[in-house]
């Protein structure tokens, strides 16, 4: 009985997420608002079914009542978010809303399967963040002056990064965290947002040479501070954000090309300078030859993905706990192992559809400041997705970045929820602006 349920659910989940993913892209073509709305509602149903069936398997497999409790709480959370946004922010983008909840659903499922304790922590942070970020669209609707404070933003950002550099202790060669009253903060996650607003503020005022240099200097300071903290993954993300924002502001391919060249030189230099970068590249080129040390993580990740295959082993049927740091950096491998590579690929496509929607919204903004902010957030999100999934599948070397909204980690989930809320807020207030002009 147990196994039959697990097996049946495995295939039903794949079917549901495939339909959901196709709908994510179908709505881009759907002009008719009513029809689009009915697709969004069907997506909500699929989301709830995936949520329910997964926890059914977890409960039947473990006979542990705590999964029922967790299911109830997490299901109420995602459903309330959908209802809240639909009622309070009527103009909110429903695809982003659905996707945000879908990704959270997957996070709740896989984390409670991997570690009930961590899943509890994750959902507490998620609920708190959802409550706080639900006010962001309101703030953005009524407050149009943020662009003026970019010097303040960059000041705070640089200060936070300096704090990390001075006060933090290195973990695995990188300084990432600051401990405040027992709570671990990873400032670089938050500084990303400040950085996007700073660069958008500078470049939307004017894209003359002087301003470009100012933006370059500020970006340089951020990146150098991150490199000094040996947080090279974040340095890479900041670099990417700046490069794309500069390109959007100027439309000059030259910046991308020269930026990429500089980036290549920087990458080669960091390879020479930092031992932990060399270790990761070695692990990337030959994980199985170095399986005893450097290659261990990536080899275990590949075992998980390869073992799962397209259809997965089924929830509770695999051995994802063999992968180190599976709840954060390697959560994608755990999903692939138990829920299948098809499910995992759908997840990637859902992330891509979020990104396309972010960019789509940016294009619609009339105000260049919001355009830049939108594009900056979009790239931050998708580049992080790329680094983590590319890393754990051995497509690129590992960078130690988490999968937004899915990986365990309070800072990561908080910041990603803020990003989604900002986009929603801008999306809602942009609509308002155009109405007023009419």
């Amino acid at each position: 009985m147990e196994l039959i349920t697990a097996e049946a659910v495995k295939y039903i989940l794949i079917l549901l997420i495939t339909v959901y993913t196709i709908q994510c892209f179908v709505v881009f073509k759907q002009q008719d608002e009513e029809k689009a709305n009915s697709i969004y509602l069907r997506q909500n149903v699929e989301m709830i079914l995936i949520h329910f069936l997964s926890f059914l398997v977890l409960y039947i497999g473990t006979k542990d009542v705590q999964y029922i409790v967790y299911y109830a709480v997490s299901q109420i959370t995602t459903v309330s978010v959908v209802i809240f946004y639909r009622i309070v922010y009527r103009g909110a983008n429903k695809l982003l809303l659905n996707n945000m909840c879908m990704l959270l659903t997957v996070s709740f499922i896989i984390l409670s399967r991997l570690s009930y304790y961590k899943a509890i922590r994750q959902i507490l942070v998620a609920i708190a963040s959802l409550i706080v970020t639900s006010t962001i669209p309101y703030i953005l609707m009524n407050f149009n002056n943020i662009r003026r404070f970019y010097y303040l933003f960059s000041g705070i950002g640089i200060f936070l990064l300096l704090m990390v550099l001075v006060f933090s202790h290195a973990v695995n060669g990188s300084k990432l965290n600051v401990n405040i009253g027992g709570v671990t903060f990873q400032p670089s996650e938050f500084v990303k947002l400040l950085f996007i607003f700073t660069i958008a503020g500078i470049l939307s005022r004017s894209v003359d040479i002087r301003n470009i240099f100012i933006s370059l200097a500020i970006a340089g300071i951020h990146i150098i501070l991150l490199v000094l903290s040996k947080d090279l993954g974040s340095a890479l993300i900041f670099f990417m954000i700046y490069l794309v924002m500069l390109y959007v502001a100027t439309g000059r391919l030259l910046y991308i090309i020269s930026g990429s060249l500089a980036g290549t030189v920087a990458a080669l230099t960091s390879y020479k300078l930092f031992a932990h970068v060399r270790v990761r590249v070695e692990a990337f080129t030959d994980p199985f030859g170095k399986i005893d040390n450097a290659g261990y993580q990536i080899a275990q990740s590949l075992f998980a993905i390869g073992t799962g295959g397209f259809f997965g082993m089924g929830l509770l049927q695999g051995a994802p706990e063999k992968i180190p740091v599976v709840v954060s950096d390697f959560v994608f491998s755990a999903i692939a192992e138990e829920m299948g590579v098809i499910f995992a690929l759908c997840l990637i496509l859902i992330c891509v559809s979020c990104f396309i929607m972010f960019m789509n919204i940016s294009i619609k903004f009339k105000d260049p400041f919001y355009k830049l902010v939108g594009a900056g957030l979009a790239v931050t999100y998708i580049f992080q997705v790329f680094l983590t999934i590319g890393g754990v599948t051995k497509f690129i070397p590992l960078t130690g970045v988490t999968l937004p909204l899915i990986s365990y980690g309070g800072n990561s989930i908080m910041v990603t929820l803020i990003m989604f809320a900002i986009i929603q807020g801008l999306y809602v207030s942009k609509d308002k602006e155009s109405h007023e002009r009419q």
Binding site: F303, A304, F310, M313, A344, L372, F383
Partner: protein, 492 residues
């Protein structure tokens, strides 16, 4: 208009506003670029799942094997002709057991899968526990809670040659390996003492407790022995490399021993060989002459040659093995160099390694990676993966191979290997060795490594019989039986 603005900005009078159309175009391009990047990533993951994943997970570090065993009936292991070497049978109570129809014959080559794993059972573990039966059937079986039938592994092993080698080695401890020179296929792999894999669970304590017996050790790949005179192949190669021009004029007066800088090297049983040249030093295996040769060699170059032949290095094998060891370096004493030149001293070598070198020489310097798994088929037929012969590369110059082959032929014609000169329809060549393994100089391990036929080498055979005596008397006849079995199978 745009250009005007830009010029204005240089004078610093008016801010340059972002051109929205341009910005939108850039946003679109960035979007396309990332979407493209993700498409590549997705194609890669699909490719990985289909082609690379099944390879990668077949790794002893992958501890997910128990999960597989719960869902799949372990597949069969077969010989190159399709004879079943291992299969799974389910008894009435539903208990799955492994059966080895040939008993101890393939004990180390095929190995076992309970109480740990060895041989092909270990190397192809996940393959055997993966089912490629039709998807619908597998889904139905999953639902019914029934096991799927695992894939079958076809080896390169030849039961006739294996049997001949096994019987010929008799009650000696030791090892026999035969490989196909052109492809690197392992045709037979015998190690003794052995055990019956059918009784591995029952006799586990006995096999394991008896440390001295070492039955679980596959001596072909993991037995380290002094190579004795078979190592003269390597010494000769180094001499040819350094003194090619004068090699034909080499001569030495052997009176049964050679002394240099206070060290003395004796010929086998102190026999004196009289006047020898390079060819007869090799074919008659004159230790004194080789000790003399060693004094002319450059230590650094000698070490390099050894490393090119994969001493102190990893071998191109996909199974567990031990590295061979040569002690030569710049600080080596004359005594060490002389000992090494005749394959004594600290030099240690596995039988498969000397077989690899023999194959490469017979293949004019090009080494084919030895392999034992030919293909994976799904249950009921249909090739999942075919392993093709794989060239490792050239490890010896062709011209030296020709000289070495001439010398190895002479060993059989007139030297220490004449017990191989009268054969049925083929010619053979090789090198014998009688390796002293302790201070007791009376007893020695009997070595032979060689190939056949001489004009177009097909098979390389390496034999070591521990504590058996001289290579020429004891190891050569064992090799001959292996060559005979091979020749008989070729005629068929």
């Amino acid at each position: 208009m745009k250009d005007n603005r830009r010029e204005n900005s240089k004078t610093g009078t008016e801010p340059v506003k972002i051109d929205k159309k341009r910005a939108n175009r850039s946003i679109a391009y960035v979007t396309y670029a990332f979407v493209l990047l993700f498409l590549v990533l997705i194609v890669y993951i699909v490719y990985y799942t289909i082609f690379r994943g099944p390879e990668d997970i077949n790794n002893s570090y992958n501890s997910r094997q128990d999960i597989y065993a719960k869902r799949v009936v372990r597949g069969q292991i077969l010989s190159r002709n399709g004879d079943i070497l291992a299969k799974s049978v389910t008894d009435e109570s539903g208990r799955e057991e492994r059966e080895y129809p040939y008993g101890p014959l393939f004990a180390h080559a095929v190995g076992f899968s309970e109480k740990g794993k060895l041989g092909v059972e270990a190397n192809a573990n996940i393959r055997l526990l993966t089912s490629n039966r039709p998807l619908t059937e597998r889904v139905i079986n999953d639902f019914r809670g029934e096991k799927n039938l695992g894939n079958d592994v076809y080896t390169t092993l030849d039961p006739d040659i294996q049997r001949a080698a096994y019987d010929a080695l008799g009650s000696y401890k030791g090892a026999v390996i035969a490989t196909d020179i052109k492809t690197g296929e392992i045709l037979c792999m015998v190690s003794k003492p052995d055990f019956d894999p059918n009784l591995i669970e029952e006799e586990w304590d006995e096999i394991n407790s008896d440390q001295k017996k070492g039955a679980l050790l596959n001596r072909v790949t993991q037995g380290l022995y002094p190579p004795g005179s078979t190592f003269k192949i390597v010494t000769t190669l180094e001499y040819l490399k350094e003194h090619e021009d004068i090699a034909s004029e080499y001569s030495f007066e052997c009176n049964g021993s050679f002394s240099y800088e206070g060290s003395k090297i004796n010929c086998y049983h102190d026999r004196s060989h009289g006047e020898v040249d390079l060819l007869s030093s090799f074919s008659r295996s004159c230790n004194a002459s080789y000790a003399n040769i060693s004094t002319t060699l450059d230590k650094e170059a000698f070490r390099n040659t050894c490393e090119e032949l994969l001493f102190n290095k990893d071998l191109p094998l996909k199974m567990s093995y031990k590295q061979s060891y040569v002690p030569i370096n710049n600080d080596s004493s004359a005594d060490e160099l002389m000992q090494t030149a005749i394959g004594q001293g600290k030099t240690q070598m596995t039988p498969i390694h000397i077989n690899i070198i023999t194959s490469a020489i017979a293949n004019n310097g090009v080494l084919m990676r030895p392999y034992i798994i030919d293909r994976i088929e799904k249950n009921g037929g249909g090739v999942i993966r075919q392993y093709a012969p794989d060239e490792y590369g050239r490890i010896i110059d062709e011209k030296y191979c020709l000289s070495l082959r001439e010398m190895m032929e002479e060993v059989v014609k007139s030297g220490t290997g004449t017990r191989l000169s009268e054969t049925d329809g083929y010619t053979a060549a090789g090198k014998t060795g009688s390796a002293e393994y302790s201070s007791n100089k009376v007893m020695s391990h009997a070595w032979f490594t060689g190939y056949a036929p001489c004009d177009d080498p097909q098979i390389a055979v390496t034999v070591i019989a521990e504590e058996a005596g001289s290579g020429g008397e004891m190891a050569v006849p064992i090799a001959k039986k292996v060559f005979d079995a091979w020749a008989a199978s070729v005629v068929e």
